[in-house]
Symmetry: C2
Subunit: 168 residues, 2 copies
Amino acid sequence: MASQIVTPFRSAAHDHSHCVDEALSQAERNCADRGVRLTHIRRRVLELIWRRHEPVKAYDLLDQLRLEHRGAAPPTVYRALDFLLAEGLIHRIESLNAYVGCGDPSHPHLGQFLICEHCNAVAELDDAEISDLLHRKARTMGFSVNWQTIEINGTCPACAKKQTKGGG
Amino acid sequence: MASQIVTPFRSAAHDHSHCVDEALSQAERNCADRGVRLTHIRRRVLELIWRRHEPVKAYDLLDQLRLEHRGAAPPTVYRALDFLLAEGLIHRIESLNAYVGCGDPSHPHLGQFLICEHCNAVAELDDAEISDLLHRKARTMGFSVNWQTIEINGTCPACAKKQTKGGG
DNA sequence: AGACGCGTGTTATAGTGTTTCACCTGAATT
DNA sequence: AATTCAGGTGAAACACTATAACACGCGTCT
């Protein structure tokens, strides 16, 4: 529990349609447990995010929604996103103005994100060692933590491999 | 050097006009050393940011600029901000879409920020222990770090004191 | 003078997110 | 069954954040 990988980088063996189904059924269970409604729109937005399996922009979601749902407008998407964020089913990546599915919505957490600049892949951590260190550092300055935004940009393993092959 | 506070929370003893002057003259030295031009607009934007001594929005800066400079437009501000960011004279706070002065522009760094939700005060750290831990965690996943966005929201010491007095 | 780089002026546009009010539906209440 | 109420949605407009594109001006180097 000290160092937890919530969502790893996708491997070659990743079964994506299963991964999407799993995320959706877990979301349904979570919402049922909490007595909140995973309506059609909300479920659809969550599905669109998971299908992409990378940070998705609100207006990209809107474009998708419009294909099947005339009358979809910015509030349609943002309301769904607000709900999904509140329920911990997705996270917002501040540095990208984008949204990713949460790999473990069963308990509320803020997460720490590794974002590949080359392929946009995102891994999510919920690492107590990181959180604890930040809390300790803050405390020494008399600051009490309520929220953390930890977004690390760089190169994921797969892209590092490609670069080594391709580059000089 | 392991744990450095670049910009602490302001104390009661804080001499703000001196702090602004100091920041500006340091900026001038830095720009001169690097052979880049701290033009009037750029210097003015930096000054406006330091005067506020908290995260400032681009369009707030624009409003200020317009008071003294008809013809100021969004690009006027964003170009100045881009320059100041590139020279490490300011940082961007992603979670606020806002900009703060950098407490130590003499060497490039990314910083870690403590942001008070009550008074908007910001402290800047450049803490090697935090960076090292994040690098180590990333490395275990085969990820190489290029950039970090660390923004911690919570309550600063001064506001914690006020709350204890005021609240129940 | 001519050519170039850089900073700026100006207009327009793109991208991101919110406000507001109306309507509808379904469950609880009377 | 009618009423009430809350939550979710439809629709239009708007606010905020940022960039594109092109023109101009001014120094410097040749």
